[in-house]
Amino acid sequence: MTASTEHVGQKARAVSIWAIRRVVQELVAHALLIPISIVLLFPLVWLISTSLKCHTEIFKFPPQLIPNPVCWSNYPEALTVYPFDLYFRNSMIYCVGIVIGQVLVSTFVGYGFARLRFPGRDVLFWLVLLRMMLPATVTMVPSYVMFAKMKWINTFLPLIVPGWLPGLNSASFYIFLCRQFFMGIPLELDDAAKIDGAGFVRMWWQMMLPLSKPVVATVTVFSFIIHWNDFQGPLLYLQRQNLRPMALALQAFGDAFGPESTSSEWQWLMAASTAFVVPMLVMFFAGQRYFLRGISTSGLAGR
């Protein structure tokens, strides 16, 4: 009787020590993570803060974090000094055009590598991985020459077509992700579909794609972010001003109103930059919950 109560008391004490330790650990973790988070968020906050300051407030010392007064007019002003609606549309054409292609084609190719047996498959898959490591810089000049000869300069074709025929380094990574994901889907499903008489293309379209939301979302978000960001491609192939995507336009805007210009309008520059960032934030928050799952199935952890 006494022995048993003693035992229970011991156990309770152990639990409470364990609980206290756990609470202390949590507090230490938050004490570390909160300041780091503030530092990490600061640039973004500073960007938005500056974008809402009036011209005279920009150069005030000491700098203020909260704009007072708030100059909402920076946004309509900055976005009409240059025709950013046009540039936004150009970015969208480029991104939507290539993202659809990359998602379709990397799941398609990934399906072939993951689910079908054919001679030379493993060697060819090594080629996919090797492709990921080849520096795109080598093909910069000849690709430009080729597209120039094809009269594709100043069209979106040199930017979009390589997405539909996976000719980009990133495409290899997506094929890899898709293959790994598909390999994790039970093979019995294929057999059931085969008995059903479904063709392989239908199997990819009607069975694999609906089951693959995490990897499809991961590829979509990655691809969208990379191409919304892309500077080098449009710089080479879209030389006409009215074809510029946001990235190029923002750089030109920086030339006109940035540090070296006679009319520094930082609040405009920051407003335009914010407008450029917002679609990325939307994309990120929309795809966030799939991210980790899409990647963790890839087996990069050596499993």
Partner: protein, 317 residues
Amino acid sequence: MSVVTDKLSRRWSLRAKEAAAGYFFILPFLIGFLWFTAIPMGVALYISFTEYNIVQPPEWVGVHHFVRLFEDTRLRKALANTSFYAGLSVPLYLATSFLAALAMNSKIKGIRIYRTIFYLPSVIPAVANVMLWLWIFNPQWGIANFLLGLVGIEGQKWFLDPNLSKPCLIAMGLWGIGPTMVIYLAGLQGVPPELYEAAEIDGAGPWGRFLHVTIPMMSSVTFFNLIMGIINAFQVFALAFVLIETGAGGTATAGAAGVQDSLLFYVYYLYQRGFQYQQMGYASAMGWLLLLIILVLTVIQFKLAGSWVYYEAARGA
């Protein structure tokens, strides 16, 4: 007899059908590989032996460009800058993203919010990011100098200081480690819990478990991140371009990349030679030189990998 052959041939035809379908599925990759990689690489090699400006037909000059590569002082500068950038940034980003992933893998309250915060700065596009940091590092009005002033340190010229421009660039990259962190995090979550339990039974404390389970299990992820990190660092372009062209480089002399060429990175220089000076032959030779450099670095890493990268498959065998 005929039933057996019938069955065999049916099975064979199923196999053949599957193989044909397999090639059909990977066909886009093969076409893309030939069209956008293999053939352009061959063409680049050819152009690198010629004088070529797109307008006139290429003129064969033999190894002329490759000889000039070794005499080009700006190329040497570009290689030095790029190596400096890669050598410092890659280990720094790997270490910080690994540490961040470890923190993000803990089970404390609000971890999902932290994960979002740690990833968020990475989605800022490069061009917007440069604008933002140009503003933060503005020598006159930037908040960086204001903060230094608070602790009594004299204001710096940051991107306009040839000694600070690259470290500044590397520092701002710390806000962009999100994708690498996520790859590490996915790796950490993939470590089988049995391994930790087994280590605990063997008497390993938290530090011992970290050293003998986490580190070896993460070595293949580190290897992947290291290889891709170096390849990407050697090809840094957009950041340099926007920094230089937006004028933060304080381009006193036309064509210089930042003060005293301190931001002259390899691919920017290649772009200059090829697309601003129309020297496609020389630019192609530079492209191939970069390929060889990256190839050598990658092969060295694969050779070294045997001694520190741990693969589970190898253990199973």
